[in-house]
Amino acid sequence: MSQFITAVLTSLSSGAIYALMSIALVLVWRSTRVINFAQAGQAVLTTYIGYDVIQKTGSYWIALAVAVISGAVIGAIIDRFFMRPIFKRITTGPISLIAPVVATLGLLGIIQSSIGIVWGINYQSIEAPVSTDGFEVNGQVIAFNRFNLLILIIVTITMLLLSILFQRTNIGLALRASAYSPEIAKLSGIKVDAVRTFGWAISGAASGLAGMLYIPGYYLYPNAMDLLLVFGFIAAVIGGLDSMFGAVVGAMILGFGLSFSRTYISMEILFPTAFVLLILVLFVKPGGIFSAKKKRGA
């Protein structure tokens, strides 16, 4: 029984982090129609910045705030000075579909290798702000600790805030309109470029948060967020790339799937599980769960 509870709880807390990554990816996808692989680089870069802040101030919370803010700034800079010029340059030909994605892949490599040059490639670690000893349930220690609980709380609050932002504010409406139809948004006087940069800023902030919440359980090194990016991507694809809600649902499905297979089968089967989950969902709905796409005949 405690194994079941553990599995459920760890599903939630890992799903929460996947959700941050998948939301960030979906946000950028919807506004820019590109899969931002550089997000893994952004997330780990902001975490390195957070690491430096901890070295200077000793405070995880200040580091968290700085990481989130710098994530927003970095995200905005990448859209304004990297993505926008690329889109302007490459407008025709078959390469125009692939070029932006490939560019983000290149950017990922640049960010990660720059981190290696500046900070070095040795493993660092960030300590969690609260205890990572498992809770005791009925005298047994389960694999769920205070930090996991904190992650759940922070992410839930973040989701609520984002939800309010998107559904109830003017800028949120502008974001959604620009994502659904850039042309109609422009014709309504919305500065679509600026709005899109704002979307990237939020995405950057979300991935910055994800980094600071994820790393304390693991090690910090330039490639530390690669796996999380893959999981975030899988979660986003499962949910259907066009839906923020789908991103969260996909993250939860992935979280549960991975957690249960890890608890009941083995650690090794983790990635194959993710792959199988993905293939199953896409076989039934080639565009993800919440997509409108119907099955096309093969």
């Binding site: 078959p94 040059i117 896409l282 093969a298």
Partner: protein, 323 residues
């Protein structure tokens, strides 16, 4: 001079290139032979991506996994089943091709980011599977010794020359096959798939089937290059094909120009030369360990961005004759 059909011309060119390479292998030292083997192998991998992404328009982020399939198949065929290297390589290509056929069928309905995501997941998932099965050697992997050159070649035939012959010839033959494929009506079919699948379907092309076949052939080629790598490395293990390999060969394909095969050897050259240049640069600058380790990636990534922005259709255009 007899006028030759394009395909005969192509065959002649490849035969001449092959013959020149074999001649050259007598005249260069073991280091160059070793590098040459790697160049041939990576060129083949790049060619497989050009076929899949450049021609049939399917973006794969998981070619490392397909190379791994060929690698393990080759190690098993030559190492365990004691097949002759040539047979073993053919087996590796076929097995990888079969795997690609199944995979291609599973992803035939997926497009763009969905396909990319699935191949990405595969690239991460597949290597760890090898840990599970003892027959695949678990975490240690499988060793492979392809042996030395046959008796008939004489005493002076060095190991490296043998490697080079195997890699260069295998790559040459497979790339020739791919070149023939894309110059035939299939090339036009693939381009139609890539640019306008709806129109292609309407004009009678079975889009699904063609996509799957392209995937299978590309996988076979990638598997072959994986098997060649295994020969060069002397073995295969789960850690031989991390996610980075998929990005690495995709980068080579983009830099060399995705949309035709004409500059493909440039891709292999860059993928082998750049890390070496970066190493030399790093030790010249005398930086930290971080610098030495990260500079190759930095240069490759920078080159990728420059390539995709400034020569989106590939520098191969320089070599291309006008159509």
């Amino acid at each position: 001079m007899l006028s030759m059909t394009p395909s005969k011309k192509r065959l002649a060119i490849f035969i001449i290139i092959g013959w020149l390479l074999l001649l050259a292998s007598d005249r260069v030292g073991p280091l160059r032979l070793y590098q040459g083997s790697y160049i041939a192998t990576y060129t083949l991998a790049v060619a497989s991506i050009i076929l899949l992404t450049g021609y049939s328009g399917q973006l794969s982020l998981g070619h490392g996994a397909l190379m791994a399939v060929g690698a393990y198949a080759g190690a098993l065929a030559i190492g365990k089943a004691m097949l002759h290297p040539v047979l073993g390589l053919v087996a590796a290509a076929l097995i990888a091709g079969l795997f690609g056929l199944i995979l291609g069928f599973a992803v035939a309905r997926l497009s763009g980011p969905y396909l990319a995501g699935t191949t990405l997941a595969l690239a991460v998932a597949l290597p760890t599977l090898a840990n599970q099965f003892d027959v695949l050697g678990g975490q240690q992997g499988l060793p492979l010794d392809v042996g030395s050159s046959p008796e008939g070649f004489g005493e002076d035939f060095s190991q490296y020359k043998w490697y080079f012959w195997i890699c260069a010839l295998a790559a040459l033959i497979m790339i020739w096959a791919i070149a023939n494929l894309v110059s035939s009506k299939y090339g036009r079919i693939y381009r139609a798939l890539r640019d306008n699948p709806i129109a292609a379907e309407l004009s009678g092309i079975n889009v699904g089937r063609q996509k799957v076949l392209a995937f299978a052939i590309s996988s076979g080629a990638a598997g072959l290059s994986g098997a060649l790598l295994v020969i060069l490395l002397g073995g295969v293990s789960p850690s031989a094909f991390p996610l980075g390999v998929s990005f690495f060969v995709l980068t080579g394909a983009i830099i060399t120009g995705l949309y035709n095969l004409k500059g493909v050897i440039l891709g292999g050259l860059i993928l082998v030369a750049l890390p070496e240049i970066a190493d030399a640069l790093a030790s010249r600058i005398g930086g930290s360990e971080g610098l030495t380790n990260s500079l190759p990636d930095f240069l490759v990534s920078a080159l990728l961005i420059l390539a995709v922005v400034f020569t989106p259709n590939g520098p191969g255009k320089i070599f291309k004759r006008s159509h």
